[in-house]
């Protein structure tokens, strides 16, 4: 199942402002691995992961048609 990836803040300098599609990723770790290969500059950048707007940690399964957001440190206010 395809996964849509969106990024914000400083990560847009690496991946741009448009959603990126990844064809197959069983979980978030597999997804990040694929993204790191496509965007080497992403490796070691600080961010947290949200799957369908919920912040997740560890290997989170992707059930299909998820939107995964990579969120660098927040800077509101």
């Amino acid at each position: 199942m395809p996964v849509q990836v969106i990024v914000f803040g400083q990560l847009t300098d690496i991946m741009g402002n448009n959603p990126v599609m990844v064809e197959h990723a069983a979980d978030t770790s597999e997804l990040i691995e694929q993204l790191n290969q496509r965007y080497p500059a992403l490796v070691n950048k600080p961010y947290i992961i949200a799957v369908d707007k919920q912040i997740v940690t560890g290997h989170t399964a992707l059930s299909g048609n998820n939107t995964v957001a990579l969120l660098p440190p927040f800077a509101g206010g």
């Binding site: 969106i6 914000f8 957001a69 969120l71 660098p72 927040f74 800077a75 509101g76 206010g77």
Partner: protein
């Protein structure tokens, strides 16, 4: 008192005008159970970084997620403090140095709840809402803002 509150939009394109803030204060004149208001205003600061001055901050957000999170913060704050009302407005887009980008306004019967709630909202908002700021310098180069 438990009431169902719907997620409110907190985002405004562009700066928050002083007249908007004044109108917002005026609107509370009819709520005579209020005895104290607390207001926090965030203003874009012209930081000087190695001789390069910040001219503006360009704000972006993961809006849907931010509004859901803000709704949760609002519920928590109303559960914790006896507030009459609370209003939060955050700018998106390019905000010039000196302009207001954040307006938090709490009201209660007595001052302490309004003051404490206002402080807690500002702290939580900065830590928990997915919002980013690009500091644009006078020479049009930029860096990404980090919250202290």
């Amino acid at each position: 008192m438990i009431t169902e509150r719907k997620p409110k939009n907190i985002f405004t394109q562009g700066p928050i005008a002083a007249t908007f803030i004044a109108d917002s204060i005026q609107k509370h004149a009819t709520k005579t159970n209020i005895g104290g208001h607390s207001i926090f205003l965030g203003q874009v600061r012209a930081d000087d970084i190695n001789g390069n001055k910040v001219a503006a901050i360009e704000y972006t957000a993961y809006e849907e997620m931010a509004l859901e999170k803000m709704h949760q913060i609002r519920e928590d704050i109303f559960a914790k403090y006896p507030l009459v009302c609370m209003h939060v407005h955050h700018s998106l887009g390019k905000i010039a140095a000196g302009e207001v980008c954040l307006f938090v306004f709490t009201s209660s019967a007595h001052r302490k709840a309004a003051i404490d709630a206002c402080t807690e909202i500002v702290e939580r908002l900065k830590a928990e809402l997915p919002i980013w700021g690009k500091e644009v310098f006078e020479d049009e180069s930029y860096q990404w803002k980090e919250n202290k």
